[in-house]
Structure formats: structure tokens, C-alpha cells
């Protein structure tokens, strides 16, 4: 198709409509081919390439399912309160308050203000990590020869910087992150064992307990021992659902969690948000 003229260039561009790529958002999300709920409830449907990133603002009560399609995805995640991002995921409080270093179903992802950002409501993987964070430009340059976003082995922190910037945030707004689908265990002497993936198809579902901004980088876990950069697609689906309420088993699962839900409810009520 000729692109020498503006008219030709326009026709050339418009002829691309309907093209498909493996890694892409499906818009509108209800057109996702195999919805896990009523299709009209879907608000986000995307496949994120290995070595790439995505981000979204999610309303309270939205459920976000991440799926490791081929077994070598690793979803590095950061969460912020949507309109006041200085309140954000605090990994140290998340593990300390809940007396557990490992992530899994029933765990709450806590902010630095003693409130719940999201809860983990389903997990078929069991291989996650709250200790090692994500990869950096310097580390990936040494490890793989490159860590830039445009190169063959992007670093998670470099992708987080881009996702953050698109939400008005700066590198200083990037605290330690969590990662899903590649596990790490702690030995008694404190040494770490990388336990890797649970295999293709593993999924984890987070429930937004406030309006949150979520940043996701899909890059290899920093402790992945393989010399090559292995990162396969991550499926991201989100749908409208309900936030955790008093009386739900999760609300009362632990005294620490109950107080976190109460703090969150008080905060939202005072703002007239719930």
C-alpha cells in the first residue's frame, strides 16, 4: 500500500484495524474470548509480553486475576491508593503484621497506613516472593548484557519507572515490590532457595479493597538461575466484584487482618466512599 502521500499513509494505517498480536489488550474487555465471569463484568483483559509492563486504576471491589500462561511469567506488582499515592504497598508491614513471609490465598496486601489495599482471594501457584523485589538496570546489564526497556532483557525497575511515570509518579515512589509465580523459600540460616514456577496455567486473584493504582512488570525473577532471560506472557483479567465485607470469612480470618479491614472501612466511610 502506497504511503508516499497523507491519504495513502492514512489508508495504510487504517488497514491495520483488526490485526491481532499475542500480547495485547482486548478492548472492550468483554470481547475476551473465554471470560471467567459474565462478560459484561470484565473491565480489563490483556496479555502482557515477557519483558513488558502494564498498569491500571481499579475500583474498590474489582478482582484482578493474573495467569502464568506458559510457566515462565513473573508478575512484579506495586499498589498505591489511587488518589493519594504516597499511601502505598508496604511489603515489610505486609509480612510482619501477618506473621508470615510467604504470600498466598487469604493474605492481605497492606499499605503503610495500616489499611488493606488488596486481598489475595485465590492462588493456584503457591510460588511467590516478598523478599527479593524486582530486577535493576545494573544487575540485568551485568547478568544478561542489557537491562533497558527497549532492549532484549528489560529490568523490572526500569519498567516500573515507566508505569509509574504514566501515573504521575517518580522513581522515589517505587518501594520494594512483590512478585507472583516464581517462588523463594527461606532456610533456617536465612539463606534463600529459588523454587521457581508451579508450571503453566497457575493463577492468582487479587481483590481491590480500595480504589488502587496497580503497576505490573512481567520480567524474570532476580533469583532465576538460568543464564538466559526467560520471560513468557502474563494474562491479566479484571472484573467487577465486591470488596470484602464484615461477616466474610476473610474479614475475621486473623485479628490483625480484622483491624486492617476496620481501619480501611473507617477511612472510606470518613471520605464518604463506602
Amino acid at each position: 500500500m502506497a504511503t508516499e502521500t497523507t491519504y495513502g499513509a492514512r489508508d495504510h494505517a487504517r488497514a491495520q484495524e483488526g490485526a491481532r498480536a499475542e500480547a495485547m489488550p482486548v478492548v472492550p474487555a468483554r470481547d475476551w474470548p473465554e471470560p471467567p465471569c459474565e462478560a459484561d463484568r470484565l473491565v480489563w483483559a490483556e496479555t502482557v509480553a515477557g519483558g513488558n509492563y502494564t498498569h491500571r486504576v481499579l475500583a474498590r471491589g474489582t478482582e484482578l486475576r493474573l495467569t502464568d500462561l506458559r510457566g515462565d511469567a513473573c508478575a512484579h506488582v506495586l499498589l498505591y491508593v489511587a488518589d493519594r499515592p504516597w499511601e502505598r504497598l508496604n511489603v515489610a508491614d505486609t509480612v510482619k503484621v501477618q506473621w508470615n513471609a510467604y504470600l498466598g490465598a487469604g493474605q492481605l496486601l497492606l499499605s503503610d497506613q495500616g489499611r488493606v489495599l488488596a486481598s489475595v482471594v485465590a492462588d493456584s501457584s503457591g510460588r511467590h516472593d516478598a523478599l527479593c523485589g524486582t530486577s535493576t538496570l545494573a544487575r540485568n546489564t551485568g547478568r544478561y548484557g542489557d537491562g533497558t526497556p527497549q532492549g532484549p532483557s528489560p529490568a523490572g525497575r526500569e519498567l516500573f519507572k515507566l508505569a509509574a511515570a504514566k501515573n504521575g509518579l517518580e522513581p522515589r515512589d517505587l518501594p520494594p515490590s512483590l512478585s507472583f509465580f516464581q517462588g523463594v523459600e527461606v532456610r533456617e540460616d536465612g539463606a534463600l532457595d529459588f523454587t521457581g514456577s508451579a508450571g503453566p496455567g497457575a493463577h492468582v486473584t487479587l481483590r481491590a479493597e480500595q480504589d488502587v493504582t496497580v503497576l505490573i512488570a512481567n520480567v524474570p525473577h532476580p533469583s532465576d538461575p538460568r543464564p538466559e532471560y526467560v520471560s513468557t506472557p502474563l494474562e491479566v483479567l479484571a472484573w467487577r466484584a465486591e470488596a470484602t465485607r464484615p461477616g466474610d470469612p476473610l474479614w475475621d480470618a486473623t485479628p490483625e487482618g480484622r483491624r486492617a479491614f476496620l481501619n480501611t472501612a473507617e477511612f472510606l466511610a470518613a471520605r464518604g466512599l463506602a
Binding site: N90, D93, C132, E256
Partner: protein, 228 residues
Amino acid sequence: MNTSTPANTAAPMTTTTPVTTTAPTKTVVPARAAWSAVVRTGQTLTITDLHGNQAVDFLVYDAQDTAVRYSAPDTVHAQGGIFLTTGSVLMSNEYTPLMTVVADDVGRHDTVGGACSKESNTLRYGHHTWSQHACVDNFLAEGAKHGLGKRDLVSNINWYMNVPVEKDGTLGIVDGISAPGLSLTLRAERDVLVLVSNCPQINNPCNGFEPTAVEMTITGADDRGITA
């Protein structure tokens, strides 16, 4: 307390006339208080647990660019383990070395538990703790002297705090393994700003349920011959 150039200024630091004396500067940080200082490349900072089992919450920033700061996950990943002791390198969020532990009388220190806060205390112990002082408030107050704010606080080191992780992932702050007079020493790998909260927590054994003073000692001339 902080006799150094504020970290958030771009003022050149090479105008001081080099001197050869290396008298250390010692500061006793009272129980429950905050402290900060710039430690220049090659200088050492010794933290002495004067009365035993006193958690010292610790953050460290590149003095020239405070967006580059201590990263617990990068430090843990780089050394392949969660406990700090002699030889541990405190890595930044850009995977660069900030300080190295060059001496340690205790054997292991915490990277996982972060700082106590008034807010997290309400989850951990109950809302009756709300009026108690906490490390995050120390970090915010001391950090503000250097232009740092809430966004600049990240998971910190807890020197002298004992946080084991069980096989099932259960972790918690348990009785300490330090003792009166034990110390550890850090060497600055570049000019760094150190923020300290002498932990005021009274609801768990991290301070033996009685917060006490600690001592900070900066020793040595830096690469340009500037002493502490």
C-alpha cells in the same frame, strides 16, 4: 547532631582543606530519638548497642541523589539471604553498593521487618497503642531535615533485631541475641546520608521492652582527606 552538608543540596564538597587527624565523632542517641549524618566515602560508622538488645532502625541514601537509597530486596537478593552480618553489602535500589558491614559482634540483623509505625501498631497490637511513639515518625521528622518525605521511606534495616523465619513462613520479632556494648561497623562505599530511629517500640521484645540509648561513631578521613 548532623554536622554535615545537607544531602539535598548540590553544593560541592571538595572545598574543605584536607587535614590528617582522624579523631572520631561520637554521638549518643537517646532512647526513642532520631539521628542522621552524612558518612563520606571510606569513613566508617560504628553503631554500639550500649545497653543490649536495642533495635536500631536504619535507612541509607546516596548523599548526592537521594532517589538512590537502600533497598532491602536488592540487598537480600545480592547476598542470597535475609540476615546481615560482616561482609554484607547494603545495596541501593539501582543495585549499587552504599555501605559494607566490616565488623559485627552479633552475627545477624534483620532486613525483613521494616519500621514500626503508629498505624501498623494498631494492626499488630490494637488501637490502644495509637498514642505511642514509633520509628516511622522518627524517620519522617529526621528525614525532613534533609528534604526527604514520606515517599522516601522504604523497608529499612533493623540492627540488633532478631526476626527468624520458620519453615512454614511464620516470622516474628523474638528475643534479641545482642548484649550490652556489642557493636557493628559499616564502611561507606560512597557519600551516604544515614537516617536512624532508635526504636521506641514497647510492645514486642525488639528493645527488651525498654528502649535504651545507642552510640554512633564516625571514624576516618574520606578519600579527599576530610575527616569526620
